[in-house]
Amino acid sequence: MTEPLLQAINTGKIYPGGIEALRNANLTIAPGEFVCLIGASGCGKSTLLRMIAGFETITSGQITMRGKAVTGPGSDRGMVFQDYGLFPWLTIRKNIAFGPIARGRPKAEAMATADRFVTMMGLDRFADSYPHQLSGGMKQRVAIGRVLANDAQMALMDEPFGALDAMTRERLQDELLTIWRATGLSVVFVTHSLEEAIFLADRVVVMSPGPGRIVAEERITLERPRDVSSPEFNDIRRHLASLLHADHARVAA
């Protein structure tokens, strides 16, 4: 295996109130890998993602990016939020140019970069619109575009399609895979939909609550594009569902 892009070693999170959100998580992400974190609410999947992003402090263990400890947010790890987090006062083009400008790129260059990603994300018609004029799906395209335009090596996605309708979600899943293949970006994608995880990921990481922890990892080797109604897909789904619900089963037994 190539040198890992990101490594979480015995990572844990205890909130000041004493609540343990995550215990001893070990996770390695290779460059260009697409990993989905899945689990019920309270399993620590969002906490882990936010610790990788640098938004949450790490209370035990460590997380390294290219061998360097993560101590805060950085432009090498771009985040896509479920609620978009777009800057409402900037046009779509300027939202996408925000990162390059913040990092000191010359304005003309930043705008040229932005234009490229506006086109890539199919947003040409909306380049000069403001976020409140866009649908949820379009807003999430902007959010992905601004992470790409900022040369992030890793996209951290926190249930990014959770608020979208089913049709839009499927389209964006396809588009995300296309972009991922074209750019060689690493993706860590949090979801609570097994189907979404199996459809997208190279590897699915199953997490469980009480305290949040990683309980299993499954490499998905199905050829892409994946057929969600195929027997092979369903076999994996059944297997992962049993891992997800292992806790309940034990309690019930």
Partner: protein, 273 residues
């Protein structure tokens, strides 16, 4: 208001008529009629009729009717008052905007200043009148102070609230895109709180017009408030009402200009655009 109009059932026979202007003038016309009927039924009363006020307005604007101390004074009075309103408003904004940003974002400044302002804020401008005349003397300086005081608090309170209620998500978004903590203020806080600050400025300017009469009770010679005070002492109630109408219209136009400006500058904000 437009939504209400659109909600009316469409008339299929004839093209739809926009009834908005009609809706907007109904209440003023009814009030004017009631006033007119009331004064016509009571000819010897203390309240002048609309015609008397109209005549007074004409004389205030162009003279030629009474040719007394009030004739042709509308423009000089209006200019003097508008100058005080805008001057005091700019002074209030220059103080309240930075103070509000500091109180809203820095804990030490908040603890240092907020309790004081909380106690000072409920004190009406009228109550400051005597003290203001002692501190700033009789005349325009006192008027300026009182009007600025009236405009100050709405701007301050709205600015504090605006910079405090920036969505935390936007800080995260900016930081993951490479903005350092020190630059979050200009890159996120300032633009995100513009609509709130704008609301404060709009309210502040409105208040400046509200307190201009009180402000000009400080013994200034010229101004709409001074005119109303003089007319009151001479029992020229028609001039008092004319002055009230002038302040109302001037304040309305001034607010309308601010709203248009806001629509241009804050096109991105669903509340303003």
């Amino acid at each position: 208001m437009n939504e209400a109009v659109e909600a009316l059932p469409p008339d299929s026979a004839s093209p739809r008529i926009d009834v908005t202007p009609l809706l907007r003038i109904i209440v003023p016309v009814v009030l004017l009629l009631l006033w007119w009927i009331g004064t016509a039924l009571n000819p010897g009363g203390l309240i002048p009729s609309p015609q008397d006020v109209g005549t007074a307005l004409w004389d205030l604007a162009f003279g030629g009717i009474y040719d007394d101390a009030f004739s042709k004074m509308l423009l000089p009075d209006l200019i003097a008052s508008a100058g005080r309103v805008y001057g005091a408003f700019i002074l209030a904004a220059a103080l309240a905007l930075p103070l509000g940003m500091l109180i809203g974002r820095l804990r030490i400044v908040k603890e240092l200043l907020e309790p004081t302002f909380q106690v000072l804020r409920p004190i009406p401008v009228t109550a400051w009148l005597p003290l203001s005349m002692i501190m700033f003397g009789i005349g325009p300086k006192s008027a300026f102070f009182l009007v600025a005081l009236g405009a100050f608090y709405p701007i301050l309170v709205n600015t504090v609230f605006a910079v405090r209620s920036v969505e935390p998500r936007l800080f995260e978004a900016a930081q993951m895109l490479g903005v350092s903590p020190a630059r979050l203020f200009p890159k996120v806080v300032l633009p995100a709180s513009l609509p709130g600050m704008f609301t404060g400025l709009r309210l502040g300017l409105g208040f400046a017009w509200v307190v201009i009469v009180v402000g000009e009770m400080t013994g200034v010679q010229i101004g709409l408030g001074a005119m109303i005070m003089d007319a009151r002492q001479l029992s020229r109630t028609e001039i008092v009402i004319a002055g009230m109408a002038i302040i109302g219209v001037a304040g309305f136009l001034s607010d309308y200009a601010v709203v248009l400006l806001g629509r241009r500058l804050l096109a991105w904000s669903p509340q303003h655009g």
